[in-house]
C-alpha cells in the first residue's frame, strides 16, 4: 500500500480502480526475444514459463547475458567489433576494444487483460452520504496492459546491460515506465585474482536483488509484501504514528550494487547502495550537470543500504551433474532438485520536514524527523523436477518520532519517540509445471499491518477517514490466489488468476459504526500476452 492512500478520503472509485490495476497488471519486464534471435534458440532454452527462468536461464543471466561457456560458438550473428582484439595490447594508448551485437537486441512485449469482480464491489458506496451519486464499478472490464520495449546483452568484455521500459504507462520499475536500466561489470574478480564471478558491479536503476523478482514475476499480480509501504498517521484513536515511508521493496533503486556468486548454484550475495526516497517525490529542477538533463532523484542526503545472501544446495546425487548448470536427467537435461536458503536486509532513513519553532517557542524554523527504518527477511526455495515451492517472510520496522509542542510554544518544537511502526508478512507459492506449456499456481499472500487498518477504518470524530475499497477487516490481510498459465507458443501466454481477497468492511465515517459485515471483493483476472 502506498502513502497516496492517505490523501484519498472517500475516493472509493479511484481506490477500486487503482487497486485492481495494481493487483491485476503484471510487472514491467519479461523474457528477451532478442536473445532468441541472437542465438537462434527458443524462449524455453532459458524460461520454463516466461519470464520464470530455468536453471540455464539463471546461468545465462549470471554470465552477463551470454552462454556460460563458449558463447561465440552459439552466436548466429557475429558481433560487430568496436576494435580488433589485438588493440588491447596497445591500451592505454588506444580505446579498449569491445563489441556490440550483430543483431539489434531489442524485444517487445504486449499484454491485455480481462477482469471480473464479485458482487461486493460496490459496497463501499454505502459510506457515501445519503443521496450522493456513487460511482458504479462494473462487474467486468477489459483492460489494455503494458507495451514494453527491452534490450539487453553484453559488450564482449564482461560488460553487460539491461534496459526495459513500459512505453504505455507512467511509473517506474514494477509500476511501469523505465524499469531496470543498468550497466553491469561482470566478473571484476578476475582483475583482483578472486574466485571467478565472485565480484560484479552494476550501476544505474535496478530492482533490488529480491529473493523473487517482482519486476519480472510470472504471476499476473505481484506479491503483496513487496509492494507494502509503511504509513502510520495520527488519527486520534490508534497508536500515534508520524511515519510516512512510502517506499516499498519493489520500487526501483538508483545506485550501485556489488554482487557475486551464482543464482543457479552455491552462494550468491549482493550489497546495494542507493538513493533514499521514501516520499515518492523528486526535486524537479535539473541538476547542475549535465544541464537541463538530470533532475534529483533522492529526497534526502542519506543513501539506503540493501544486502542479500543466499546459498543454493543442488541435491543431485551425481557430483558431476550436481555441479553442472543443468541436471543430467534420464530423459534429458532438466532443472536441478535444489534447496535455497536466503536472507536480506534493508536499512534506510526517512526524512519528514515540517514547519515548527525553535526552543524559544516563537522563532519559525523547519524541523526534520529522521526516522531510521529496516526491512529484514528470509526466503526459502525448493525445487523438485517440475514442482517448485518457495516463500518469503519479512518484518518491517520504522522508528516513529512524534512531533511535540512545548507548553506555550506557537508550533512544534521537537520530536519524541513513539511506538515503532511495523508490519510483517510474506508469501508462499507453489508452481507445478504439469506440462511444458501448462503451469498450475497456488499462492498465499499475507500482510499484517495495524497501521493499514487504522489508516482506513478506525473512527476519528475529528477527521473521519473514508471507508475505501481497501478497508481491511483486520490488521492481517490474507490473499489466496490460485492460477493457471498456458503457453500457447513459447512466446504467447494466457494466464488466469482468481484472487480470493482479504476480508473488508465498510464503516460509517460519521459514526464509526459498521455499515456492512465482513466481505470479500474477489476478482478473476485473465491475461493474454506476447513477446517478440
Amino acid at each position: 500500500m502506498n502513502s497516496k492512500w492517505r490523501s484519498l478520503p472517500f475516493a472509493t472509485v479511484l481506490a477500486v480502480v487503482s487497486m485492481l490495476v495494481v493487483l491485476s497488471l503484471p510487472p514491467s519486464a519479461s523474457a528477451i526475444p532478442a536473445f532468441s534471435r541472437r542465438y537462434g534458440t527458443s524462449c524455453t532454452t532459458c524460461h520454463s514459463d516466461f519470464p520464470k527462468l530455468n536453471d540455464f536461464g539463471k546461468a545465462f543471466k549470471d554470465a552477463g547475458f551470454k552462454f556460460p561457456k563458449d558463447d561465440e560458438s552459439f552466436l548466429k550473428a557475429p558481433p560487430v567489433l568496436l576494435g580488433a582484439p589485438a588493440q588491447a595490447e596497445l591500451w592505454p594508448h588506444t580505446v579498449y576494444p569491445g563489441s556490440i551485437p550483430g543483431l539489434l537486441p531489442v524485444g517487445l512485449r504486449y499484454n491485455t487483460y480481462y477482469q471480473q469482480v464479485s458482487a461486493n464491489r460496490n459496497n463501499f458506496n454505502l459510506a457515501l452520504p445519503a443521496g450522493t451519486v456513487g460511482n458504479f464499478i462494473p462487474k467486468s472490464d477489459f483492460q489494455p496492459g503494458y507495451f514494453s520495449i527491452f534490450t539487453a546483452g553484453n559488450f564482449g568484455t564482461g560488460i553487460s546491460w539491461w534496459v526495459d521500459d513500459d512505453i504505455s504507462v507512467a511509473g517506474a520499475n514494477a509500476n511501469g515506465a523505465l524499469g531496470d536500466a543498468y550497466l553491469k561489470f561482470n566478473d571484476l574478480s578476475r582483475f583482483l585474482k578472486l574466485p571467478k564471478d565472485s565480484l560484479n558491479l552494476r550501476a544505474g536503476q535496478f530492482e533490488l536483488d529480491l529473493p523473487f523478482s517482482q519486476a519480472r514475476t510470472w504471476n499476473l499480480s505481484g506479491w503483496d509484501i513487496f509492494s507494502e509501504a509503511n504509513v502510520g498517521i495520527q488519527n486520534g484513536l490508534g497508536p500515534q504514528q508520524f511515519v510516512n515511508n512510502g517506499s516499498a521493496l519493489e520500487d526501483a533503486a538508483n545506485g550501485i550494487e556489488f554482487s557475486g556468486g551464482h543464482i543457479y548454484q552455491g552462494y550468491h550475495y549482493s550489497v546495494a547502495v542507493f538513493d533514499q526516497n521514501t516520499t515518492g517525490l523528486t526535486i524537479s529542477p535539473p541538476n547542475v550537470a549535465p544541464q537541463n538533463a538530470v533532475a534529483f532523484n533522492s529526497d534526502a542526503n542519506f543513501k539506503d543500504l540493501y544486502g542479500r545472501f543466499v546459498y543454493r544446495f543442488n541435491l543431485e546425487k551425481d557430483p558431476v551433474s550436481r555441479d553442472d548448470v543443468q541436471a543430467a536427467g534420464a530423459m534429458g537435461p532438466r532443472d536441478h532438485t535444489f534447496l535455497a536458503l536466503g536472507a536480506f536486509y534493508l536499512y534506510g532513513r526517512t526524512a519528514q520536514p515540517l514547519s515548527g519553532v525553535l526552543a524559544d517557542g516563537i522563532t519559525p524554523t523547519v524541523l526534520t524527523a529522521r526516522e531510521p527504518f529496516y526491512r529484514i527477511g528470509g526466503d526459502v526455495n525448493f525445487n523438485y523436477r517440475t514442482f517448485n515451492v518457495f516463500g518469503v517472510y519479512l518484518a518491517a520496522h520504522d522508528h516513529n518520532l512524534l512531533p511535540v509542542t512545548a507548553p506555550g510554544a506557537a508550533g512544534v518544537t521537537g520530536f519524541t519517540p513513539g511506538a515503532a511502526a511495523t508490519f510483517s508478512g510474506g508469501f508462499a507459492e507453489a508452481d507445478y509445471l504439469a506440462l511444458p506449456w501448462a503451469m498450475t499456481i497456488m499462492r498465499w499472500d499475507q500482510v499484517k499491518s495495524s497501521a493499514d487498518r487504522i489508516n482506513f477504518i478506525q473512527y476519528d470524530p475529528t477527521a473521519p477517514p473514508g471507508s475505501s475499497f481497501f478497508s481491511p477487516y483486520s490488521a492481517t490481510r490474507n490473499r489466496f490466489t490460485p492460477g493457471e498459465q498456458f503457453l500457447i507458443h513459447a512466446n504467447i501466454k494466457t494466464s488466469i488468476e482468481y484472487q480470493i481477497m482479504p476480508k473488508q468492511i465498510v464503516y460509517n465515517p460519521a459514526t464509526g459504526l459498521p455499515l456492512t459485515g465482513p466481505f470479500r471483493t474477489n476478482a478473476l483476472i485473465v491475461g493474454l500476452e506476447f513477446a517478440y
Binding site: 542465438y39 537462434g40 534458440t41 527458443s42 524455453t44 532454452t45 540455464f56 552462454f67 556460460p68 561457456k69 563458449d70 560458438s73 552459439f74 548466429k76 558431476v320 553442472d324 548448470v325 543443468q326 543430467a328 536427467g329 534420464a330 530423459m331 534429458g332 537435461p333 532438466r334 513459447a490
Partner: protein, 192 residues
C-alpha cells in the same frame, strides 16, 4: 577344384556386374535435399552395415540436418556443445512405440543407437526445441541423398521391379514403381 572355384567367382562377378543398374533422376516440387530409397524387397534381407555414422550437436544444431542410412546402421550422437543436450525421437514414421530417448550426455561424449526399424526418424532435443534433424532409415542398401538441385543417383541396384520412395522434410512422401534395367531414370514431384 581351384579352377572351378575361380571360374565360378569370375562368372558370378561378371553376372552381378551385368545385372546391376542405376536409378537416377530428380526430385522436384521442393527445394533442398531429399532422400530417395528402394522400399523393402520381398524375400530379401541385407546385412547390417558395419560402418557407424556420426551426427553432431554443435551450436544448438544437429549436423548434418538430414542423414540417410541403411536399416541396421548404428548412429553415434556426439555432443560438441558446452551445453547439455538430449536426443530423442517421438516415433519412427509415426509409430510411437518406436520412440526413444537417449538421455543426457556432456560435451565431447557420444551415445550410439542402432536403427533396426526402417522409417523416418525425427530427432529432437528436449531443452532446445528449435533443434531438429532427420534420420531416414532405408529398408534396403539402395538409397541416396539428393543434391540441393534435387538430383540423385543410386548405384548397384540389381535389375528388377521395385517400389522407390522419395522423402523430403515437410512434404508428402511419394512412392513410384520403378523397373530397373541398367541405367534407369525415375523422377519425383513432391508437394507439401
Amino acid at each position: 577344384m581351384k579352377k572351378i572355384a575361380l571360374v565360378t567367382i569370375v562368372m558370378t562377378a561378371l553376372g552381378t556386374a551385368a545385372f546391376a543398374g542405376t536409378i537416377h533422376g530428380k526430385v522436384s516440387g521442393v527445394s533442398g535435399e531429399s532422400v530417395v530409397y528402394v522400399e523393402a524387397i520381398a524375400g530379401k534381407t541385407f546385412p547390417a552395415p558395419t560402418q557407424h555414422i556420426t551426427i553432431d550437436q554443435k551450436g544448438l544444431m544437429f549436423v548434418p540436418h538430414i542423414t540417410a542410412v541403411a536399416q541396421g546402421t548404428t548412429v553415434e550422437f556426439l555432443n560438441s556443445d558446452s551445453v547439455a543436450h538430449n536426443v530423442f525421437w517421438p516415433s519412427i514414421s509415426g509409430n510411437k512405440k518406436l520412440g526413444h530417448n537417449l538421455g543426457t550426455w556432456p560435451q565431447g561424449q557420444r551415445k550410439s543407437f542402432t536403427f533396426s526399424d526402417p522409417g523416418v526418424v525425427s530427432l529432437l532435443c528436449n531443452v532446445h526445441p528449435e533443434m531438429s534433424a532427420y534420420v531416414i532409415v532405408s529398408p534396403t542398401p539402395y538409397f541416396a541423398e539428393t543434391d540441393k538441385s534435387g538430383e540423385f543417383k543410386i548405384d548397384n541396384v540389381p535389375d528388377g521391379a521395385y517400389t522407390v520412395t522419395a522423402w523430403h522434410e515437410g512434404a508428402k512422401n511419394k512412392s513410384n514403381p520403378v523397373k530397373v534395367a541398367g541405367n534407369t531414370t525415375a523422377d519425383f514431384t513432391l508437394s507439401k
